[in-house]
Symmetry: C2
Subunit: 107 residues, 2 copies
Amino acid sequence: MDVYTLNEMIRYQPDKMAKVDLAASPHLICGLNCFEPGQQQKVHAHKGADKLYYLVEGSGEFIVGEERRTLAQGQLLFVPEDVEHGVVNTGAGRLVVLIVIAPNPHP
Amino acid sequence: MDVYTLNEMIRYQPDKMAKVDLAASPHLICGLNCFEPGQQQKVHAHKGADKLYYLVEGSGEFIVGEERRTLAQGQLLFVPEDVEHGVVNTGAGRLVVLIVIAPNPHP
């Protein structure tokens, strides 16, 4: 059974957001994005693929198109294909986000 | 911005597991499955679509193919396309699971 215990897989890098790969298939990829305070994921887009962000821990500012909004633990964000999006950890603590991209942009 | 505050959307039914629809697109659907103690999701499969379960709250027994395993809050389970799977809330408390299916089986 393909199980991931997220608390055991969270890791950080001093210089930039850390990415942790979890399950992957042709239909989707999922993983963790782990941010120290102040770290960011630059605005980017996934051609032909939607993205979900679920906030596992912390809070931060999420950018989708022209909108910016602070989200916190327990919130889920849907980003449609081709729409620019990014994240800044504006919180005082660490930010951990579970992400799903579908379909897999690099199958 | 397409944001869902999961704590505000959890609901239960006395007679069976409650399903709450969240975002949907041709590439994916996501939602909450909410179980009172003892409630279950019968074993089923999604033809040509993978599934992710993330345990938001509680614990329960997950069936994938011939395997059974008790999972708890903070664990993520990947179920490949066409593989039979189901859930029983064997815990003493309520069980809330965030699910993603990709691609959308009913676009």
